[in-house]
Chain length 286, copies 2
Amino acid sequence: MCQLMGMSCNKPAATTFSFTGFSARGGLTSDHVDGWGIAFYDGKGCRVFQDDQPASHSPLADYVRRHPIKSKVVVAHVRKATQGDVQSANCHPFQREWLGRTWVFAHNGDLRDFQPPQGCQDMPVGSTDSERAFCALMSHLRGHFKDRLQPPEWPELAPVLADFTSKLAAHGNLNMLLSDGQALYVHCSTHLHQLTRNHPFPKAQLVDRDMSLDLGPLNAEGDTMTLLATEPLTRDEPWQALCTGEFRVYAQGHEVWRQINPQTQAFPMACPDPDLKSRPMWAANS
Amino acid sequence: MCQLMGMSCNKPAATTFSFTGFSARGGLTSDHVDGWGIAFYDGKGCRVFQDDQPASHSPLADYVRRHPIKSKVVVAHVRKATQGDVQSANCHPFQREWLGRTWVFAHNGDLRDFQPPQGCQDMPVGSTDSERAFCALMSHLRGHFKDRLQPPEWPELAPVLADFTSKLAAHGNLNMLLSDGQALYVHCSTHLHQLTRNHPFPKAQLVDRDMSLDLGPLNAEGDTMTLLATEPLTRDEPWQALCTGEFRVYAQGHEVWRQINPQTQAFPMACPDPDLKSRPMWAANS
């Protein structure tokens, strides 16, 4: 299993504080030590940082914690391998270009028996079920909108993605963050929480580190920010759990679309592949 | 115009020394201050670091200079914008996935009138002629090898790429580095130099910084490394200029294929787009 963190805002914001808490789950407060990654959209560009080292101890994660990168959409992941070795190619978020936009995808859960249909245009570089699902999803979008020359926006994409993710979620747990830099698409099978912050911005206290930050001076009236995380990142803020089968879309920090599929089920947590060389938790701290 | 740096080796090697010299061209010793990027292949994975800040002063470039990342294939670029604003989306190397491999592309030159054919599956995210050319190239490969389920290797790819890059080079200067992590494909229109190092490895002295490194203790008998760069990175080593129209392939540090198209011409250097907001050199040093 893995953990997810995402952000959607109406003005570019830094995630150094949130990522400081989140990345502690990669070896300090939790055992998601098999790599990590974070994607920052910067205008049309998308910068992805990733490393197969534990996020809590990776020098590159330390760089990300120390250097604020302002972005309106962020997707991050710390990995606990259940399928696919510990290697760069298996670090989320994965990325593909479609109609001139970079799409990124991060997943927590397992879709072990899932195989993309034959003839899928997108093919996995690594060996995870997650990347296979992302390839199938992107190929589905290419097929569904096949005569388009311009990328569709979230009002058109949302029902197509809700339908497709719902089908993926029949194969196993699909807690997922997906973005094209414009909107953040979210599916929950078992564990995902959201928090929206508006003016007046609170003083926030991390769950995973003894650290707090007064968000008031960093934000103005009219600023809106929604955070997503597998488990709440801060104490004393109104994080809400998403339901099983829930699909949501966020744009400019606001929730703009929601659908719940009552048929979607939560699967029991799978045991890691017995042949898999995952890292023991102590490896991050030794 | 821009500058390129590439590496192909038979054992994973760090490029911190070479990148220290190369990145100085992004603001210290040359005016390629409009962003930079470097791709490191790590097994099947590919990690791309990029920033729209000058390479000589970018904190992320400093991270790359200080943290050795061992790789068998590296592609790097410092940008002097001639077409396309200064922004992340216009930083090379660009990347696309094809048949389960990540391809990266970096370009120096200008192909101003070049437009990818209608119906190109790959579409540019940014606004450079370089990314348009890369999209056309990848779409050409997809079409040429369209029934494949496994990626072709360099013996099959080399003649197809030599032919296609030769056609691209009819539109303007194409100094190019391209890789799928297995081989490094190189085209020269005007400026590109190569250096192969074998045992006994020399003491190397950078052109751009007052820095030298004894490569002997870092390498063993049997190690082979080829470096490519727009201009030689070190003094007193036998860098060779590639010819106009020359296409070469390197694998495991060795040159494995070469073809010269005598019809290819070198175009006069184009002036930057007058509407383009490039950075003055002093901006990197202020």
